[in-house]
Structure formats: C-alpha cells, structure tokens
Amino acid sequence: MNETLLAVHHLTRRFGKRKQRVTAVEDVSFVIHRGDILCLVGESGCGKTTTGKMVAGLLKPSEGTVEFEGQDIWSMGKQDFKRYRKAMQIIHQDPYASLNPSHTVFKIISAPLLRHGLVANRHQARAHVHELLETVDLTPPDEFLDKYPHQLSGGQRQRVSVARTLTVNPSFIVADEAVSMVDVSIRVGLLNLLTRLKEDLGGTFLFITHDLAVAKFFAWKGRIAVMYVGSLVEIASTPQLVNDPLHPYSKALLAAIPEADPVLTRQKKRVKLRSQDIPSLLDLPSGCRFHPRCPLFEEGLCDVERPALTPVGDGRYVACHIAVREIGGRR
C-alpha cells in the first residue's frame, strides 16, 4: 500500500505577464500512495483547480515536477504520456458543461473506448457501455444509451461523467468538485458510488473540493491538504485535521463552517481573524501569506519569513512558525 503513485515537487504556476503576473500556485509538494485518497481543500481562488490541472497534465507547471510512477510527466516521451493520460482520468465539476450536448450517452462513453483501442468495433463498444452504465447505477442501461445530456438530470449526468472516466480502467482519478453541483439527496448517492468504485477498483484519488464536510465524508481513511492563496498550509490524516487542526487557517476554517445541526453550529467557538480581506494574488503579503489575517501573528517573524511545510510527526505537515514552535515545545 505504501508505494508512491504520484509525487508533486515544488509545483509553481504563474499566469500573465509583468504587472499582471499572478502566482496561482506556489511551491506545492505532496505525494499520493497507491490506493490512497488525498483531498485538496481550500476556498475559491486558492489554486486547487490549477494544481489539479497540472497533476492531470492539462496545464504545464512554471516550475516543479509531477511524477507518476517515478517518471516526470512533462519530460515523458509521447508514448509514455499517452499511457499516463489513460491511467489518469478526470471527473469535472460541472456535468452541464463537461458533456457534449450533441452526443448521445453512448457516443460520449464509447469515444474513449474507441480512441484507446479498447474495443474492436461499435458492437463490442455497446456491450461495454452497457456494463459501465450498470456500474454507475444508470439502470436499465438501454433507457439511457440513446439519450442526450439535456434529457438527464444533474445527478444522472454526473454519473455519465463517472462512467466515462471508468472506460479506460484508470489507476488514478482526479475529481474536481465532482459533487458540488448536485442536490444533497443525490450527492450522497454519488459519493457512495465513488467510494464503492474506489474500494472495488482500488483506485487512487485526488479529490478537490471546497467543502470540508464532503472531504471528511469521502476521505475519512485518507488525508486532507489545506490550501491558502496558492500554497499548502497543512496536510494531515482526515480525522486529525477535522478534530485537531494545527494551522491557524485550518482552525479558522473549521470554526467558521456552518453545520446542519442547530445546537452544534450555534455553540461553535469562533476564531477571530484580524482581517476579513482575502489577499489579492497580484499583491501577495510578504512572509506567511496568512499573516495579515492570522490571530497568532508575530511581528518581525511572520511578515518576514515564509514558513515551510514542516513535518511534525504522525505524517502531519504544517506551514506555520508558531504552530511548529509550540509542537516543538510540547515534545
């Protein structure tokens, strides 16, 4: 189980030129072992989707490497890269935009089968698509094969997206806000489907979401990485992160989340931030990116020196001068 499937080293991505230059992702490193789930959590604009795209090979990093099974995907040969594209699949956020409206469900799902030469002819493809639709609980499959996306509900479309990613038996799936656009009653069904697939197929997941509750549910046995304006601030196993976060930003986030439980949510202890403003990517604060809002801010340290993501034992990492010092003191 401990074999590294994907390793990301010092990933940085900049957009734009000169004055308009923004650093969307800065010096992000993490590894995902085979069969594991890593959830990338953060607020909008923190760079989680950009990171996901770089991992998926859709966007070239400005600096840093993405290694899949020990090989850098951006210096691979064409053949290897094609193999990577097959081993890795993406589930996109918006099931309304990610399916071609003029293709039937059959055409959508059979395209990758034919493209990668997994079936010999359309007849075989039909049988295979049939099977895949059953796997994602779109039954009876015959009812769905010839439908167009607009004839399906949001949840059904997302299931078609999932079926499409399964066509090529991927060993690694990047799911970018895969359940955010569907209603609650459907969401759980989708999450359970993904969990079942993970267990049956032994897949590895990079699961990107803004919703910590969803991350907790899906990755209870995995890990969560918290991002803030382009950098990782904390990585920990899911139970550790939701019950005992170390980084002040993770703490603030967890304390702020409204919960669907009136007594619990009204009794939560809030973390008071020094400022409500999210820094602009065009004008990032010096030192620790969180220092203008951080309740633990220490002048002369946090605004000068950037904290590195530091291992603090138990497989946890945190990027905060104060938190690391306190843990050091406790030992």
């Binding site: 209603d183 907790k216 439980d261």
Partner: protein
C-alpha cells in the same frame, strides 16, 4: 394603497400570535408556469404565517418551488408564471391588505418599503456600469420618497452597518468589490427603506466559508438591532441551522413540514426532512454513515398521485399513493403532511438503510433478469 386597506381581523388570520399580527400571511397560494408540455405547478396551496421579528427558513432541493414562492410574495414572477389563486396578506400595525390586489403603482410602494428581497448571486444583481450609489439612489427613487441628501446619508449609515468602508464602497463599481462585499451591499440596499420583511434567496451560496460566516453573523446582528422579519430561502441546511427560528420544508411545490428549528432538526416528522438531514455530513465529530434519498425529485408537470413523496419514501403505504396528506399540526406548533409521522418520529435509521438496500437489490434482480 388606502382603498384596499381593511381591518386585519376580517381575514381571520394570525391566530398564532396574541396581540402582534403576523406581518405576512399566505393563504392557499398556487403558482404555475406555462410551458409547452403543460403547467409547471411550482407552488401548490401554500399556507404560511411569518411572525413578527422571526426568521423563517425555507429548505428543499432545487426545483421544489422555494424561489418561486419568494418571488410571488413581492410579485416579481416572470411573465410565464401566473398566480392561480390565493391571498398574501400583509400587515403593518393593525391594518392589513392583500398584496395580490395591489395595482402596479401600489406594488412599487409595497416593494422595498414594506418587503425587500436580496437576490441570489450577488454579482448579477447589480448593473455593472453604475456606481453603487447610483443603484442605491435608483432604488430610493423608485420606491421611496427621500431627498437625495437624506438617501445618501442613509446609504452611508447602512454601509457602515454592514461593516464596509462607506466612503470607498459607495462610489465603487460592482466589479471592484469582492463577492462577500457585494452581498453586504445588497443587504444594505434591501434595508434602505426600512422594510418590515426581508426575503433572502440563497444569501450565502457561492461565498467562501469565512465570508459566509461574516454574512451569517451580520444577519443575526442586523435582525436583532433592526427587528425585521426574515424569510431565508436556501438549499443549504446549515444556513437554516444557523439562523432560523422556524423551518419549513418544501417538496414539489408544497410545504410538507413546518416547525421550530430544533424540532425540525432533531425530531423531524416528515420522511423528506428526515432524509435531507441524514444526507448532509457534518464536519465536527466522528465519521457518520450518510443515507441518500433514493430516486429524484418529481417532474412538476406530471406529478405522482397521492403524496408527492411516496415513490421515494420508505414509509409509503397504499393510502399514500391515493391521498395527498394535508399539512396538519401534530404536536404544538409542529405541522407535517405525512400519514405516518409517528413512525418517522421514532427515527428508524435501520429502516432507511433497509429500504435503500432493498432498492439496490431490486435493481440487481432486474439486471440479472
């Protein structure tokens, strides 16, 4: 407005309050949209009293009629929608009138002065080429009778109230503000003419968590200070858990459950509410299995017979397929539209599990057959 004014008691409503009248009482409201396939019954016979100073939260999934209901209250529905029947009785002091009988001009006076709405998606609610002040002044001109100086003073005060830097924000363009700031400006705008009722449609959806938190705290504080009543429309149960005094669950255009917030969350008496609560994960605490509601929401053109929830309901019996249960009070102040509420209340978790499981097995059997 005067000619429609009648003595409040003539309407025979407001039983639930002693000497303060409910600012809004909705009686048997039906709204339909005409589309090619037929009539979309978006609101079906809704009865609801909004109490003075309370916040009432409407929950339910997309397409259950929440937003249509909210828009109907201030008659901002699109042209393809018709209000088939019903009354919306508005009351300030002891005088009341039916909003549905007002003419265009009276309606203008009613909107914003008496009842304001904060719309979904804060970006689209603004005109991108006008300064914030111009849009605020437009609102005042359309609905109110303040002088320009008065209006500006009031606008500045309110912007300060919602924790913005008033001088900077009032002359800004919408695109210069962040999502959270825009939402706060919209809130300030809704308060311009000191309305008695505010309808908020998805006030925190699409905002970041820390921003959501500020908006929630702000709403709580504003309501305390200014004493208005709120209707919060949201698919997000946690907003109801945070802000509501009472919660109404909507399904297929009708209110299926109504009660005190704690009653609804801890003692739900309608299987749909129970299902919604069981489907939402919480962040704090240990891992909890979630249960999904099988099936999908009904087609509002061609609805199932009887109880509209019966095809998805683990408690459904033959009676549910024929008869639609009325919304009735079963415990003090707690209304539900379910024949089997007592069973639901006993909260049979296993029952849901079994039901979901048997559906799965049914599917498997179909597949192998």
């Amino acid at each position: 407005m005067k000619n429609n004014t009648v003595s409040y008691l003539e309407w025979g409503v407001g039983e639930d309050t002693k000497d303060v009248y409910a600012p809004l009482s909705v009686r048997d409201l039906w709204v339909e949209y005409q589309i090619e396939r037929g009539a979309v019954k978006a609101v079906r016979g809704v009865n609801l009293d909004l109490r003075k100073g309370e916040s009432l939260s409407l929950i339910g999934e997309s397409g259950c009629g929440k937003t249509t209901f909210g828009l109907a209250l201030i008659r901002l529905l699109v042209k393809s929608a018709t209000i088939r029947q019903g009354q919306i009785i508005y009351c300030r002091g002891s005088q009341g009138f039916d909003v549905l009988t007002l003419d265009e001009r009276e309606m203008r006076d009613f909107r914003w002065r008496e009842c304001a709405m904060v719309f979904q998606s804060a970006l689209n609610a603004f005109n991108p080429v006008l300064h914030i002040w111009d849009q605020m002044y437009d609102t005042v001109k359309a609905h109110g009778s303040m002088s320009k100086d008065e209006a500006r003073q009031r606008a500045l005060d309110l912007l300060r109230h919602v924790q913005l830097d008033p001088e900077r924000v009032i002359d800004a363009y919408p695109h210069e503000l962040s999502g959270g700031m825009r939402q706060r400006v919209l809130l300030a705008m809704s308060l311009l003419l000191d309305p008695q009722v505010i309808i908020l449609d998805e006030p925190t959806t699409a905002l970041d968590i820390l921003t959501q938190r500020t908006i929630i705290e702000l709403l709580r504080r504003l309501k305390q200070e200014l004493g208005f009543s709120m209707i919060i429309i949201s698919h997000d149960l946690s907003i109801a858990a945070e802000l509501a005094d009472r919660v109404a669950t909507m399904y297929a255009g009708a209110i299926v459950e109504l009660g005190d917030v704690n009653e609804i969350f801890y003692q739900p008496k309608h299987p749909y509410t129970l299902g919604l609560i069981k489907a939402v994960p919480t962040v704090t605490g240990e891992f909890k299995e979630l249960i999904s509601i099988p099936g999908s929401p009904p087609d509002l053109v061609d609805m199932p017979s009887g109880c509209k929830f019966h095809p998805r309901c683990p408690y459904a019996t033959a009676r549910c397929k024929q008869e639609e249960p009325p919304l009735a009070e079963v415990v003090d102040g707690h209304l539900t539209a379910c024949f089997h509420w007592e069973e639901v209340q006993r909260g049979h978790d296993e029952r849901w599990q079994r039901f979901a499981h048997s559906l799965d097995r049914l599917k498997e059997a179909e597949q192998t057959a």
